[in-house]
């Protein structure tokens, strides 16, 4: 055999992989570049300019939608992470008990159903509740987001818990620590990276949602993605590129943080 024969090599695979990475990044790259286009048309280049960022910043609808996205995202992320942490504690490091399989199925259920179906289901259900209670605030959006964020928050927390053995907690109990003290002083600090990863994941998932929000929202309750969807349907302007670019930067920042937090092993 030739001396440079590598058992790991497969002909053409590297080329396809290179194509994949280029293809994945090229459209995003173009989108970002055109956000800095001075021309008001998105098909020609008119020089570098920040004016579309400025115009997005002065657009009250954009600011409104952004604030709403953050508001819903942070409430939903915090709630779903708390609930997911509790659920993860209840479903890991234990012998099988009645209902455990049911819990796994229930917690992962939102992942199995196409978003459109959940969206429609919530549209029907919440519109009924609206009639009965008269309440039409963002509570419905928060509830929906919390529900579909739970499985995402649950994933890293459960993974972290499963890798933690019970020795330290048992030792604490042997030294007469109360269950609450054991949890606060031992379990929680060890679990913290998982919880943080879950929180960030839940926040990104909430921030990204278009479909369910589109169906659940009442008038004037646009989030940033649903506002953008409406604008894109109406025709594209460089302002959308600018908003997308800002949004993109935020996602990249969170993902980078997530990557380091969830990789941290001790």
């Amino acid at each position: 055999m030739a001396s440079n024969f590598s058992i790991k090599h497969q002909p053409g695979f590297t080329a396809i992989a290179a194509t994949c990475f280029i293809v994945l990044y090229l459209p995003i790259f173009v989108l970002v570049i055109y956000a800095f286009n001075a021309a008001s048309s998105t098909s020609e280049w008119g020089g570098f300019s920040l004016k579309w960022f400025q115009s997005a910043y002065q657009n009250t609808q954009v600011i409104d939608a952004t604030l709403r996205s953050f508001q819903i995202g942070s409430i939903a992320a915090v709630l779903s992470t708390i609930f997911a942490t509790m659920a993860a504690l209840a479903t890991t490091r234990t012998a099988s008990y009645p209902g455990l399989t049911f819990k796994y199925a229930a917690i992962n259920q939102p992942l199995m159903v196409p978003e459109i179906v959940t969206g429609v289901a919530l549209l029907i259900f919440f519109s009924r509740i609206k009639i009965f209670t008269g309440y039409s605030g963002i509570g419905y959006l928060v509830a929906a987001h919390t529900a579909f964020c739970i499985p995402f928050a649950y994933l890293p927390i459960r993974a972290r818990l499963e890798n933690m053995d019970l020795t330290l907690e048992r030792a604490a109990a042997d030294l007469y620590a109360t269950p609450w003290k054991t949890f606060r002083r031992i379990t929680l600090p060890l679990l913290w990276p998982g919880i943080l990863a879950g929180l960030m994941l839940a926040f990104v998932i909430s921030l990204d949602d278009v479909v369910i929000t589109e169906f659940v929202k009442s008038g004037g309750q646009d989030t940033l993605p649903t506002y953008m969807l409406g604008q894109i349907r109406r025709g594209i302007t460089p302002e959308i590129n600018a908003i997308s670019t800002a949004f993109l930067l935020l996602s990249v920042a969170i993902v980078t943080l997530f990557f380091f937090v969830s990789r941290k092993r001790d």
Binding site: C20, V30, K103, A106, P110, P114, I150, M228
Partner: protein, 306 residues
């Protein structure tokens, strides 16, 4: 006095009760804002449409009949609902082709990533994760800008003189396919990579030692061993592709509808909520069939890792 056994039993019962209490908030939220409402959709699919949306509480199987059939307004005969059949067929076709396209691109990519040195592997993983967590709408919008008539694809084709007029890609099935393959590609790469990372290359080496060709090693050793990842990736791509809403509504331009756009239409202008509900349940049934096939296949091809 309680015996030791009774004490242990009581402790166990307490533990199970505490575990139910701990998981109660998560279960309740999901029941209230995800699972429960699905049952209402099922009920709605058997009701009569109301005049201004919503429903009349009157049993009717019309919605289910009209998923695939339509009643002639003159002689009441039933015939195949051509529009619905076209849309269901397009959805399944596009979801399958998207799955195959992402597999064709994703498998070599995952292989490439898994065969890098341990340090650079993390970097490649990171690079695939970024688009994965970037808003799907933004990525769809990025594709829109590339493939539209004034986009760079057409600009290059025109400049090179390959075409004399812009190729209309946008608002076609091809545009939806390109968009879906683009946005779902990381969903295919990640699970295959996870399987591939565990691949024992000593088996590959053994294959070469026994004079297998590269292609044969790929087909007979690598592929069977990473099959669980391939199946998982296919499911992860197929399900959202079948129910895709954003990509077809942005790149299909409202003309090339998929199932979710048809469902939305019934809840919006169509004002036929029972039909929309029946179509939603139809999507769920297709998804469940795919999931069942997955579970059976995964069961068969698990635990073969060296």
């Amino acid at each position: 006095m309680a015996t030791a056994e009774e004490v242990a039993k009581a402790a166990e019962r307490r533990d199970v009760r505490d575990r139910w209490l701990l998981s109660a908030p998560a279960l309740l939220v999901i029941l209230f804002a995800a699972t429960g409402p699905l049952l209402i959709v099922l009920v709605y699919s058997f009701l009569t449409p109301g005049a201004y949306g919503d429903v009349k509480w009157q049993f009717s199987s019309d919605a289910w009949t009209s998923v695939f059939l339509e009643r002639d307004i003159f002689d009441d005969t039933l015939s195949l609902a051509a529009a619905h059949v076209t849309i269901v067929w397009r959805s399944i076709k596009l979801a399958v082709v998207t799955t195959l396209a992402t597999l064709a691109l994703g498998f070599p990519t995952a292989y490439f990533m898994a065969t890098r040195s341990e340090k650079t592997r993390d970097l490649w993983l990171f690079l695939i994760t970024i688009p994965f967590w970037t808003n799907l709408l933004i990525r769809t919008f990025a594709v829109l800008q590339i493939i539209r008539n004034e986009g760079i694809v057409n600009t290059i084709l025109l400049k090179l003189g390959i075409v004399s007029a812009p190729v209309q890609i946008l608002y076609t099935d091809t545009a939806i396919l390109i968009g879906m393959a683009y946005v779902y590609l990381p969903l295919m790469v990640l699970p295959i990579y996870a399987s591939m990372e565990k691949l024992d290359f000593r088996l590959v080496e053994a294959g070469y030692d026994l004079y297998a060709t590269r292609f044969k090693v790929l087909r007979k050793i690598i592929f069977p061993l990473v099959k669980p990842g391939v199946i998982a990736g296919s499911i992860l791509v197929f399900i959202p592709a079948l129910g895709a809403y954003v990509t077809p509504s942005v790149l299909g331009g409202g003309k090339n509808m998929m199932l979710s756009n048809l469902i939305e239409l019934q809840f919006g202008q169509g004002r036929n909520w029972p039909l929309g509900s029946a179509l939603s349940i139809t999507v769920m049934i297709i998804v469940m069939v795919a999931l069942l096939a997955y579970v059976r296949n995964a069961g068969k091809s698990g635990v073969r890792h060296g």
